[in-house]
């Protein structure tokens, strides 16, 4: 059997793939957090709940309306994004003039409320969501067996990340967004409806989280707690990458996912904490994060 650093190649590649999949979710979620934080200066604690909502909406669409995975992949982000936009317009937007802590507390309370409601309605245990038939099965790559759905998650997440990056870096809407991140008052004085831009941005962030949630539904189980399990890690990713850096959030998501996966191969005991160890080191050496700008 081929060995790499004294580890069977198969185990190595298997964990690399798992790392890449987890990294895809980290990247998608931290990207949304970074976009929201950049413009709204709100640390969106409800991000995990919005991810969970995405998975639940997909499941409920299937159960009650027979709407399949492919439509859910578009519909669930739209529904959760709209929900996010309404929350921003009616509640979150009232807190902008206050200390940023209020936004954090509000979204934290929102997350607890959403999770509590779903736990009450559906219980804490997870429910399965079957892989769509087109993506069922796997391919034998010779050196390992690749479930097609997991490959799909990696590819489509990367596409969504690149798409969001292009939207922000290369379009007029993105230019408004970047400019308003730097100086919202001036952008508004130029005649841009910045309050509307904030609503759209929060909606976009929530939609990205929901998109990740739909992708996650067949991989993990659909459970009210799936969001709070992942969100702590995602916050660590954002801290390592640097708050507000879009590309930083994406790259760090993948990097830390892979670091976590590889730690499982070389020193399994540390795999649950490796991301937080990296976070602590980065905070000591570069408090602004790997890709953040020093304030």
């Amino acid at each position: 059997m081929t060995m790499i650093f004294g580890i069977p190649l198969q185990a190595f590649l298997g964990q690399l793939l798992i790392g890449l999949i987890n990294g895809s979710f980290y990247a998608l979620l931290s990207l949304g957090l970074a976009v929201i934080f950049g413009l709204l200066r709100v640390i969106n604690f409800a991000h995990g709940a919005q991810y969970m909502l995405g998975a639940f909406v997909a499941m409920l669409l299937l159960q009650y309306f027979g709407i399949n995975y492919w439509f859910a992949l578009i519909l669930a982000p739209l529904i959760v994004g709209l929900f996010g936009a309404i929350i921003e317009r009616t509640m979150l937007s009232r807190l902008y003039d206050l200390d940023p802590l209020y936004g954090l507390l509000f979204t934290f309370g929102l997350a607890l409320t959403i999770e509590g409601t779903f736990r009450y309605l559906y219980g804490s245990s997870g429910q399965p969501y079957t892989v769509p038939p087109q993506l069922a099965g796997g391919i034998n790559l010779g050196f390992m067996f690749l479930p097609i759905y997991r490959g799909w998650v990696v590819v489509i997440s990367l596409a969504a990340c690149i798409g969001t990056w292009l939207l922000i870096e290369k379009t007029k809407l993105g230019a408004y967004l970047r400019a308003a991140t730097e100086n919202p008052v001036l952008v508004q004085a130029f005649g841009v409806n910045v309050p509307l831009l904030l609503t759209l941005t929060y909606g976009l962030g929530a939609a990205l989280a929901a998109f990740a949630g739909v992708l996650a539904a067949p991989v993990y189980q659909v459970s009210p707690l799936m969001g709070s399990n992942i969100i702590i890690v995602v916050f660590a990713v954002v801290v390592v990458g640097g708050m507000g850096s879009i590309m930083g959030a994406i790259l760090t998501g993948y990097m830390l996912g892979i670091a976590e996966g590889l730690t499982k191969v070389f020193y399994p005991e540390a795999s649950n904490i490796v991301i937080f160890v990296i976070m602590a080191i980065v905070l000591l050496i570069r408090p602004a994060g790997l890709f953040g700008r020093d304030a």
């Binding site: 730097e182 001036l186 005649g191």
Partner: protein, 234 residues
């Protein structure tokens, strides 16, 4: 009598608790270039920011082309025809020069086409792909003015356009403002550089303690010099 383009009457403004404008009265006619003079901290910048609607704690009257501006939200001010070039210039570092230039939405017809802007500011064309804040101070000021020209606003509000710039750049900005004036643009500016202002303005307001204390056309400048020197402390 022709109605002034901008009419400000008994304008008061506050920064939280502190009352900064104490009844500002002024008018700007279509096609005029007006300069507000005054020492530091008398409320010149505040006057511009209050007219623009950036400072919302305000009372009194601001009419632009006959329209009451006090009830207009900030993001509709530009659409009414007011363009703002802030003191700190407000060039965005995460946007390229061209993105900065194209950022403010066009609010009316009659704005300067991009080719003409690039003809007036050839440096900006050369460096259109670099980040906005990589430009020199003078170039950033040109960019801050240029991006407003594109939008078709009727009144250009400039806050200390020559601050911190080399004499040759100041001269260049003077030429640009003269070109704009020849095209019929109305300009309201705050300026510390008195010599610069005297070359381009039609009329002056002198400001002290949050209100206008004198108003005179450029022709009266020589006989006003003693008084100005005293108030401005130059």
């Amino acid at each position: 009598m022709v109605q002034p383009l901008l009419q400000v009457s008994n304008l008061n403004a506050w920064y939280g608790e502190s009352h900064v404008l104490h009844g500002v009265d002024m008018t700007v006619d279509e096609g005029e270039t007006i300069t507000i003079l005054g020492r530091n901290g008398v409320g010149k910048t505040t006057t511009l920011r209050t007219i623009m609607g950036i400072i919302r704690e305000r009372k009194g009257e601001i009419r632009f082309a006959g329209k009451d501006m006090l009830s207009v939200p900030l993001h509709r001010t530009a659409h009414a025809g007011l363009g703002f070039v802030p003191e700190e210039r407000g060039i965005f570092s995460t946007l390229t020069v061209e993105e900065n230039l194209m950022l403010p939405p066009v609010v009316a017809e009659g704005g300067m086409p991009l080719e003409e802007i690039y003809a007036l500011f050839p440096n900006l064309k050369e460096r259109r792909a670099s980040p906005g804040t990589k430009l020199s101070g003078g170039e950033q000021q040109m960019l801050a003015i240029a991006r407003i020209l594109r939008t078709g606003v009727r009144l250009l509000i400039l806050d200390e356009p020559t601050e911190g710039l080399a004499p040759v750049i100041v001269q260049r900005i003077g030429e640009v403002l003269k070109t704009l004036k020849a095209r019929g643009m109305t300009v309201l500016l705050v300026e510390q550089n008195f010599r610069f202002a005297s070359r381009i303005a039609d009329r002056f307001y002198l400001m002290d303690h949050g209100k206008m204390v004198a108003e005179f056309p450029v022709g009266e400048l020589p006989q006003r010099m003693d008084m100005l020197n005293k108030v401005l402390g130059v």
